[in-house]
Amino acid sequence: MILKHLSKRHFVSTGDIPTFPDHCLFLMKSQSPVDFPGYFTAFSMVAMLKGWGKFNINGSRVTLDENSFLVVNRGSTLSFTLGKSGGYVVILCFNTTLADLVARKIFFRKESTGFPASAPGDFSLVEHVHYENASLKQHLPALIALGNSCASFHALKADMIVRSILEYIIHENYSAIQVSSKLKVVKTSTRIDLYKRLAITKNWMDSNHADPIKLDHLADISMLNAEHFLRLFKQAYGKTPYQYLKSVRLSHAKELLRTTDLPVSAVCHEVGFESISSFSILFKQCTGQSPTQFRGKI
């Protein structure tokens, strides 16, 4: 991996899609406003380590902060602006050849599922803001440290981290292809657009599962009407948004019961359930045991 300071000269749009013979981590720290012009991107991950920025990806505007990151497909156009207090932007451009090789290796391993040959290198389905998986973003400071390091095998260790990020995104893309193929739409562009709306909303539910969540709010996030959102979500994920939310809350509850000493009532409220009795009934329905029994058997 090569560490570089991001400057406009690296990304002057020449009309060509850039290729990277090695992973490149571009950093830009600013304490004043920045207006970065649009350029054609390589397959990359974009994040804000400090502050927030407004990014424009193929004409769609998204805001990134310290709790989110963006995956960018090869050949997309990206520009961004940082507000008055600046920020710390990180763009990790993946080694073009390696990304393709890893993707093909993973896809070919699952060849029997019959995905189109062009699918491995196309990441348009996951080209959106990701809120969950803080661990993925936590790798970035380690990468920056290794990029300037004198540690033994520092380049090798940096490459190992980038490779694990890359594999995560490729698997995410693989699963996105599977999920989106369940949407009953004909046009590919519509399928991609609808999938992204659903994925962003599902991602948002993962991050905000502990808050009261209403269907109308989810529909707003997906920018679809409530009925349409409900129908599409079930088509794609095989369950309603409410069923999905319950499963997320239950899985967090199990984790808290396993790893903390919090009383069951506190666990119930911590993960977003309002009533202890309905939480206990649901928990027993899904796991075959009460929360107390579950904790007792660990």
Binding site: I2, D22, A142, A145, S152, F153, K157
Partner: protein, 166 residues
């Protein structure tokens, strides 16, 4: 220097121990953890994890974890050869083969390490050549230190970064 000359490097270190003792530290998971890795996992071709003291065999795969780094930093590769007494070979960074040979010279065991097939493209040539050779130099010195004096030179603290000892 022609690019081809950057495609491999050879390192030698002399150790005042017999070859059997040195080979053991290269060819078992527990041996490797004494001077090189925080955690070494070897699996046979059927995917069964080998016991820490059982000898590694040709065809095994490995996962290596490092002191000073979380489990997200993991090197995966394959054992290419393990003859049981003097040659041990495995894939390493970018799947480059690393061959370790042991032999005696002037009454001491020589550990000779050759990493070959390194990429020679202009962008990454130096990174692999310098990065990997520098890394092996430290760990070979630590192997010598462990076997001759018992002092482990590795940094084992996650909070201590940017040092050549991890």
């Amino acid at each position: 220097m022609e690019n081809d000359q950057w495609s491999q490097f050879k390192l030698r270190v002399n150790i005042q121990k017999d070859t059997d003792a040195v080979y053991h530290l290269w060819s078992t998971a527990n041996g490797l953890e004494r001077w090189f890795l925080r955690n070494a996992i070897f699996k046979d071709p059927d995917g069964n994890v080998r016991d820490g003291d059982s000898p590694i065999q040709q065809g095994d795969t490995y996962e290596w974890y490092w002191h000073g780094y979380p489990d997200s930093v993991v090197e995966k590769g394959k054992v290419l050869k393990a003859d049981g007494y003097k040659v041990f070979s495995f894939t390493f960074s970018m799947d480059c083969p690393v061959t370790v040979s042991l032999y005696t010279e002037a009454g001491e065991t020589i550990v000779e390490l050759i990493e070959s097939d390194l990429p020679t493209d202009e962008t990454t040539m130096l990174k692999h050549y310098v990065g990997d050779s520098r890394g092996w130099i430290f760990y070979l010195i630590n192997l010598k230190s462990i076997l001759e004096g018992g002092v482990d030179l590795r940094n084992k603290k996650v909070e201590l970064i940017d040092v050549i000892t991890s």
